[in-house]
Amino acid sequence: MKLGMKVYYTMLVIFIAIQAVSTVYQLGSTIGHGEKITQLENEIFNKEKELSILQEEKHQTYSLTALAITEDDSYHPIGRPITLLGSDNLASAN
């Protein structure tokens, strides 16, 4: 085989090999990227779910209606307000 032919075939093989490696790498990263997206989407979904459960529990716990059932009515109306007409306390003096 002539030298020129040898060089030609060598270059061709190298080129095809690079192309093959590049294609495999690109496909691999595409698949990896897809897996990453799926994983992140699942994480977002799970976190949102956890957050919504926590929020549901928080709102349920601090619901006024629920608290009113358990707490005593400690409200006592003030019939006659006390008016402070004067004070020796310097902090409250005008």
Partner: protein, 588 residues
């Protein structure tokens, strides 16, 4: 020709034919069939995903959740996965589901656990006997019930999740929130109240997206990107204050029990901004199980129910009279010495007592019908009608509640209509219109548009939109508003409800006891008792209307609605941090 010279030609011809053949096939597949093949390839390599965002949440003014979402589940069975038929499966599930149904039951007659279990079992057996492979066995499964069913460890059972409205405050503000039901296509839709009027804004957005996948259906990268843009509907923050809403609902229920009323309403509004602070109506319904209540209860009575306001309307008549300078507070009524006969009707005062030469000021305090006729007649029909329209009687509120609509305003205005309307009979309105009208007096003559939305939170643009107060119009002059306020303070102090007047805060108020119209006349022995007022009178923080329909303990507002008004107001002073503005010194 030798065979050696023919061979290359044959070879060339073969190549040419092969080339033409391949080229024509390529042309056929790539050009002629290219489009359809491309579509087939796309279909094989793409997966479609549809997503629906969550419905927007509703918060009270201090960001407490009023209506949210919670995840619920459908219990499903895949019959192809049943390896060892479990004859007791329906029995086991029905026992678990009975716990849910016991909690759901509001009727004590339904509280027969065995009966519920039996009914559930029969239902499940009938579902399991169906021909399909995938069968929905039950819905409304919450996390706890789901966990218990999972403990059965049956591989054929699985769950499908869905969102359901969640009400941490139970049925609080049901007439304001409305509820979510299904439309004809089975999709979630809001009905009544905010859910109805803001259905589009609250509704989650629908998205259909194509993904590139490999042969196994796994997501591929490349053009696919992580999309975390929210599809959730807009959240809304209301002007409603949770503690005040809770207070007025509790007090209304108590008041209705004490006074034996058939129904009632309490409305609290900030006259300076038009913010609706609270609105309670009784009887009410529960939003979560709305289908167990009578549909009549879904409507907001403060918007949907018309009533003749009675003497509370006199504040508007007097305001119109003073604003046009037709009368002053000191103007005396020249024909108030007895009943008035107009046409074939004789009009009397509520207690059949007459006050010759009574002033407008005293007439409001004593709720004198005859004097009000005098004010309206002095004012004249046209100006009276003009002012009632300026006060918004008959005009829609323009609030974000589905029941909001304009109400009928009389077309015919003869002497009788003018006379009866002057003291609030023969003219109908709704409670919110009445509150809006009186809030114009409280707000120095300027009527603000009642609003229920404080903020709208858009998750897609990450923006929070503040809803600013809207000035509807000036109804009366500032001077008139101050004069009418003084007359209303006088009315609260010296009127029929003076016995309950509290000496801590200046209250401007007016009682109203009205008859209930039925076809051909008025209902016998039945009244609507109401009290409308605002406080502190000089710098009002709230306007409040209390309305009790058909109270049994007494027909009079002064003995029913007024004491309830003061009881609620006293608590509002504390909740809204309103210090006393009328002080009494303590004697040593």
């Amino acid at each position: 020709m030798t065979s050696s010279s023919l061979r290359p030609k044959i070879l060339l011809l073969t190549f040419i034919i092969a080339f033409i053949g391949i080229t024509s096939r390529l042309f056929y597949w790539q050009i002629i069939q290219g489009y359809s093949l491309n579509k087939i390839a796309e279909n094989q390599a793409t997966k479609q995903k549809t997503t629906l965002g969550k419905r927007g949440q509703i918060f009270t003014s201090n960001k407490h959740l009023l209506v949210g979402n919670k995840e619920m589940y459908h219990l499903m069975i895949d019959k192809s996965l049943i390896e060892n038929p479990d004859n007791d499966l329906s029995k086991k599930i029905s026992t678990i589901l009975a716990e849910r149904d016991i909690d759901d039951s509001t009727n004590s007659a339904d509280l027969n656990l065995d009966l519920i279990k039996e009914e559930n079992k029969d239902y499940l057996d009938s579902r399991l006997a169906m021909e399909s492979t995938w069968i929905r066995l039950s819905s409304r499964i919450d996390r706890e019930i789901k966990q218990k069913i999972e403990e059965l460890d049956n591989p054929a059972l699985y769950f499908e999740s869905y969102d359901m409205r969640f009400y941490p405050e139970a049925s609080m503000a049901a007439h304001l929130t409305g509820f979510v039901g299904k439309d004809e296509e089975g999709s979630d839709t809001g009905y009544f109240g905010l859910e109805g009027s803001l259905n589009k804004e609250l509704g989650g957005k629908f998205q259909r997206k194509n993904f590139f996948t490999d042969a196994l259906g796994n997501l591929l990268g490349g053009d696919n990107v992580l999309d975390n843009k929210s599809l959730n509907g807009r959240d809304v923050v209301l002007t409603i204050q949770r503690d005040i809403q809770f207070l007025i609902e509790t007090e209304l229920k108590r008041g209705i029990e004490i006074y034996g009323a058939a129904s009632g309403e309490i409305i609290v509004l900030d006259p300076k901004t038009g913010d609706l602070i609270g609105l309670a109506a009784w009887p009410k319904y529960g939003q979560e199980k709305y289908y167990t209540f009578e549909p009549e209860l879904y409507k907001n009575p403060s918007l949907a129910n018309l009533y003749e306001p009675g003497s509370t309307f006199k504040t508007l008549t007097v305001a119109a009279g003073i604003d046009t300078e037709a009368v002053t507070p000191e103007t005396e009524c020249p024909n108030c010495e007895g009943p008035r006969t107009i046409g074939k009707y004789t009009i009397r005062t509520w207690n059949d007592e007459y006050n010759p030469n009574i002033t407008v000021k005293d007439a409001l305090a004593k709720s004198d019908n005859i004097a009000m006729i005098y004010v309206a007649e002095t004012l004249g029909k046209d100006r009276f009608v003009e002012y009632m329209k300026k006060f918004g009687i008959g005009e829609e509120i323009r609030i974000d509640l589905q029941d909001d609509t304009s109400t009928p305003f009389p077309d015919k205005w003869g002497p009788v209509e003018l006379a009866t309307s002057s003291f609030g009979q023969g003219i109908s309105t709704n409670s919110l219109q009445m509150v809006r009208a009186v809030s114009a007096i409280a707000n120095q003559g300027v009527m603000m548009r009642p609003k229920i939305l404080k903020q709208v939170i858009d998750h897609q643009s990450n923006k929070t939109i503040d809803i600013t107060p809207i000035e509807e119009r000036r109804v009366i002059s500032q001077k008139t508003a101050q004069t009418v306020t003084e007359l209303m303070i006088n009315s609260a102090k010296h009127g029929e409800a003076q016995w309950i007047f509290k000496n801590t805060h200046a209250v401007a108020g007016k009682t109203g006891t009205s008859q209930i119209p039925i076809s051909g006349g008025y209902k016998e022995d039945a009244t609507i008792a109401s009290f409308i007022g605002f406080a502190p009178a000089e710098n009002p923080r709230f306007v409040m209307l209390i309305k009790l329909n058909e109270p049994q303990s007494s027909p009079w507002a002064a003995e029913t609605a007024a004491p309830l008004w003061y009881r609620v107001a006293e608590k509002l002073f504390l909740l809204m941090n309103i210090p006393p503005d009328v002080t009494t010194s303590i004697s040593p």
